[in-house]
């Protein structure tokens, strides 16, 4: 029965809780059922419905890489009813998870290319999945650049991993904080992501750009990428909309004919240009 009921969540045990930034936490989740764990497969870019019984479900991307098997991770900011309930959960407690839903980043097609990741604020988690996925297959790709910005130094998520990436010789990491968000010790850039990106001017030649961030950041980043010579089919992003079901039935997430839950969440800039302005 568990395989046929699309509304029934997997029960996941919280194995580890990491405090990333104020109000931002990462959960490492393990299946409580061995059989489900072995059957479960997902790919970079997909999302799920995380739930606390009695409160409801909430949608976010799977933040861990499919190359790291045996668990999934999610990172969320405490904002609404469900995320607040999640934030109150401790290691060892059980939460619900439905998924994976949606399409994926075409990582296989990126072989032999340079990768440029651009993320802002709490939008690094959906991209972290792709970053680790690609880093675990590092030999398949050429240059590896990550541009990441947040409002303040404190708001940068995955601080320990940022450090790890910074220290890796095969990754170029540019971190930035919005003006006024820096601390005296801050050694990274100061400025908004699009500005920093323009200054860094990464080559568009044989490069795939993956962008994720708040709408305002996306809005200013795309034109800069195009100016740098990126083709709109080489720019990827992941969208979000309010969702309840995750599989194209509840009627919330569609942008015109396109359902973010089924046709997305991953879109190229070329695809986005064809969508009506409803997201």
């Amino acid at each position: 029965m568990s395989n046929t009921n699309i509304y029934k969540p997997y029960l996941m045990k919280i194995e580890k809780v990491t405090e990333e930034a104020p109000f931002v936490k990462t959960f490492r989740l393990k299946f409580t059922n061995e059989e489900e764990a072995t059957k479960f497969k997902f790919k970079a870019g997909q999302f799920g419905e995380y739930s606390v019984v009695g409160e409801g479900e909430s949608t976010f991307c799977i933040a861990s890489s499919p190359t790291r098997e045996g668990y999934i991770e999610c990172t969320f900011r405490e904002t609404g009813r469900v995320t607040s309930a999640l934030a109150n959960k401790e290691e060892g407690e059980i939460i619900g998870f439905r998924g994976p839903y949606g399409n994926t980043f075409p990582i296989d097609e990126w072989k032999g290319k340079n990768l440029l990741f651009i993320a802002g604020g709490i939008a690094l988690p959906p991209m972290r999945c792709v970053i680790w996925n690609c880093l675990d297959l590092r030999e398949n790709f050429k240059d590896f650049t990550i541009v990441y910005g947040a409002k303040t130094v404190n708001d940068l998520v995955y601080k320990h991993e940022l450090k790890e990436w910074e220290e890796r010789p095969d990754v170029k990491l540019i971190t930035t904080v919005d003006p006024g968000g820096e601390t005296p010790e801050w050694k990274g850039e100061i400025g908004f992501v699009p500005t920093v990106l323009e200054k860094a001017a990464p080559s568009a030649d044989n490069t795939i750009a993956i962008v994720c961030g708040p709408p305002i950041m996306i809005k200013y980043t795309f034109p800069i990428l195009e100016k740098l010579g990126f083709k709109d089919t080489d720019i990827f992003t992941t969208l979000e909309n309010r969702m309840k079901c995750g599989f194209g039935k509840c009627g919330r997430c569609n942008v015109g004919k396109v359902y973010i839950c089924k046709d997305g969440p991953v879109f190229t800039y070329a695809e986005l240009k064809k969508l009506p302005a409803e997201y």
Partner: protein, 343 residues
């Protein structure tokens, strides 16, 4: 207009048939007179209150397969353990939907297509499987009816397992359409006779108001058209149209109960509500009523045919009758047809 052979169900046989259905464990929904209106209700016996000449009920029978409130599962939870108890699908009711019009019978197609789209909704599909639809051709219609415009005929058996047509004598011409219909027939064979009659002569003629294919083409590229705003000005943003609609499927998932015990519930929702698409961040992709009105029309007449190959409207006219401010769907669709095509 030709005379054909039908099974015959005499009016006098109805009480016996209803008794047999009830005795076999079926729950019968039938159109029952309630004051000046007729509404579907559960009946165990045939009675004279069952109305076979009604034009349309306020509510459809959508709720029998897609209940307005449906429990998905119960949960129990403590600090370290959580368990989920699904309902016993085999105990879902075996419904006989008696005397609904061809538009309503046809409405199960879009519901089915949505709830089967790549992911099977077992709740819906189980209920559907246990449902027998006994349609009733229309002898009357009103200004709101427009089934013929969405390619459904008032005598169509599409979606019905059995189709009844009332003849002049007040008896029913019976067409057995599916196996499920055959089962009902087999159960009460002795109640049915044979007759030759001209069914078409008893059917009302619903005038065609627009061409569905043309409309669908016209809506392509209509996203930024100015008429959405103009049409939605008087819309007050309630969910009446969606809730009386036999094909609307939008729903909400809600948890009810305490942290240790409760249930997850699926319940109707409407794309017309302002907070339907509101993000936690405060951003709302469909912020204004005109955007939500556009979504409603485009979803039914453009997105659904495109994505799941079925139109989301059966022309029953319920939305237009129920609307507190006379947002008449067919009137709006005709106006859209008259507009220049937007590219």
């Amino acid at each position: 207009m030709a005379t054909e052979n039908y099974k015959l169900l005499k009016k006098e046989s109805l009480p016996a048939l209803f008794d047999k259905l009830t005795a076999s464990g079926k729950t019968i929904y039938a159109p029952v007179k309630k004051g000046e209106k007729t509404e579907f209700d559960i009946v165990t016996k045939y009675s004279n209150d069952i109305n076979d000449e009604y034009i349309q009920t306020v509510q459809s029978l959508k709720g029998t397969v897609f209940p307005k409130v449906e429990k998905l599962f119960d949960y129990k939870s403590d600090k370290v353990d959580t368990s989920i108890q699904e309902p016993d699908f085999s105990k879902f009711p075996q419904n006989v939907l008696w005397g609904l019009h061809p538009c309503d019978a046809a409405a199960f197609r879009p519901l089915d297509a949505t709830f089967k789209w790549d992911y099977n909704d077992e709740y819906f599909l189980t209920r559907m499987k246990l449902t027998t639809v006994v349609g009733l051709s229309c002898s009357k219609h009103d200004d709101y009816c427009f089934c013929s415009s969405v390619d459904i005929s008032p005598a169509s058996g599409d979606g019905s397992d059995i189709l009844l047509t009332k003849n002049k004598a007040g008896d029913y011409l019976v067409e057995i359409i599916t196996e499920k219909g055959q089962e009902v027939y087999d159960m009460a064979k002795d109640l049915f006779g044979e007759i030759s009659d001209d069914k078409e002569s008893y059917i009302t003629d619903v005038p065609k108001k627009f061409d569905l294919t043309e409309l669908n083409k016209n809506l392509d590229g209509s996203f930024e058209a100015p008429y959405w705003l103009a049409q939605s000005m008087r819309c007050i943003g309630c969910g009446a149209c969606a809730y009386v609609c036999p094909t609307c499927t939008c729903f909400d998932l809600q948890d009810e109960g305490a942290a240790n015990k409760g249930s997850r519930i699926k319940c109707w929702d409407s794309c017309g509500f302002g907070h339907f698409t509101l993000h936690t961040s405060g951003h709302n992709p469909r912020e204004t009523q005109s955007q939500r009105w556009r979504q409603r029309i485009l979803h039914k007449f453009s997105y659904m045919p495109d994505r799941i190959k079925v139109f989301g409207c059966v022309g029953c006219g319920r939305c237009s009758r129920a609307c507190p401010v006379d947002m008449n769907l067919s009137e709006h669709l005709i106006k859209i047809m008259e507009e220049p095509k937007h590219e």
